[in-house]
Amino acid sequence: MEDQIAVKIDDLTVAYDYKPVLWDIDLAIPEGVLMAIVGPNGAGKSTLIKAILDILKPIAGSVEIYGKPYKKNRALVAYVPQKGSVDWDFPTTALDVVMMGTYGSLGWIKRPGQKEKKAALEALEKVGMLSFKSRQISQLSGGQQQRIFLARALVQNASIYFMDEPFQGVDATTEKAIINILKELRKAGKTVVVVHHDLQTVPEYFDWVTFLNVKKIATGPVKDIFNDDNLTKTYGINYKVAITQ
């Protein structure tokens, strides 16, 4: 499948305090894949997503979203940060958090209106959280909070979805619900990129995988490259321990 390339990364290097966390990454993500980014802790998985989304400034390299810099094609991209990256005691409701997904298309100053609210309610329904719309976000369970984040990305109605560990700390039911939604997105022709921890579920959930450990180890279809060789290269000799963790 020689599809269009959704995300193209060339020679990307990101450093924190002169210490490279991502080194010379070349990566092309084809349109319409459901891709896992896997690698050990500190491999730079979240950093890669943040660099693609212009949240971190790389010291070298470039990122293109459908052939244009991120700034030009921002509207095509939705982002689900790690659940732990925000303060869930923030005074707001589930519906309001989902509404935040519409802010990008509104731009500066303009306020969300009925149209945005309707879209947010629909997204809440899709993730099975409509009855929680007025619930204060600290009163939601970990799984529910993750669903809210997913709904917020859905409301962006993007072409590419980046998700940073969406299965972290969620119950089994939520995990199933989330993966079903991701598979639906792929069916609709969207590209979904997920930072993933659980190696065991990679073949079941994803059709594309990127092995990352500061450098890119391999990228391609799960059925072709998800093997002992690449796992060893990424995780070291004890990758089987990593799998069962």
């Binding site: 305090d17 943040k50 989304l53 212009d54 949240i55 700034k71 921002r74 991209v77 982002y79 940060p81 990256s85 925000v86 303060d87 923030f90 005074p91 707001t92 409701t93 958090v97 935040m100 802010y103 990008g104 509104l106 731009g107 500066w108 100053i109 306020r111 969300p112 204060q136 600290s138 009163q139 369970s141 799984g143 529910q144 917020r152 119950d171 089994a172 039911t173 939520t174």
Partner: protein, 387 residues
Amino acid sequence: MNSAQIEIQLIASLVAIACAIPGTFLVLRKMALITDAISHSILPGIVIGFFITHDLSSPLLILLATASGVLTVVLVEFIQKTGLVKEDTAIGLVFPALFSIGIILISKNASDVHLDIDAVLLGELAFAPFDRITVGTTDLGPKSLWIIGSILITTLLLLIAFFKELKVSTFDKGLAASLGFSPAIIHYGLMTVSSVTTVGAFDAVGAILVIALMIAPAATAYLLTQDLKKMLLLATLFGITGAILGYWSAHLLDASISGSITTVLGIVFLLVYLFAKNKGLISVLYRQKQQQKEVLLLTFLLHLHNHSDEEEERKVAHLNDHINWQKVKSRTVLSLALKNNMITIDNQIIALTDKGKTFTEEAINYIITNKDTEIEKMKDRFFLFRG
């Protein structure tokens, strides 16, 4: 009330509102300490501005002082970015340095300028009505009223225009950045507003007490609401309450106005901290107590459930030995279970009622499956599952 009294209360209230708005966002961003830093480190800006203009309310002075406030934030972040020290240490390094430059400048030139440290640190609201703006023979009111009024109007306009941006970047910096709302611009915008407000307010309430007006009302409001707009509104109301009540306490006690305002703000916070419906201390302690009781009750019911066909295990007297509880505890749990119709005691032998049985099974089921859907039903009835 004479007109000076009204003017003082008006100025104090406007200062309170102007402080509560940026204060709310600073509290939510966990940056309360930065107001402390800003309020101190505007001093060199004020002093240099005063040397040039000889006027504490000249625009140049406000500009310079604001610049030194923003400089504090830049320096703190610069030091923090080296990774050698944490943010609180960086703040602790920067503002005393800038503050002491201000102090040295004042003391070196104390003989020929009329600017003393007390006035800068503590302000004197009582004198505000004396410094007036007059055009020809028309009296336009106190100068501070005009200064703080313009700052407040600017703040309000910015808040209305950028409410959405402030909210999203405060809640989720990463998302804000990915949506194209530069968190850095919003951060420095907020820091500039905080600095301008501090400068505008220092003349009236003093640089130090600005901190109280920024943080206390917002912190109090935070305990009471789970809605950002309501939090802003409540913070404003608490600020005004502090300003008016503080003024009258000062009047009665013949004490410093700004000191009294701060004291009132502190007392209001304390009361809310104790009595707030959900986050208040009393309510939290009560909830913890209930949760403890419910854990015990559940343990007890589980025991009964596990031994439903062994009478020996269900004797009242055996509870103390088997579950290893003190008599008082056993009695509390027994009466709680009885009160809720979960058990019956027949001839010193305890048995689960149907209600008790259903409840126990639901609880076990929830604990084992840990499914979100289960917890919602339990939450309504028990504190235990409300977190």
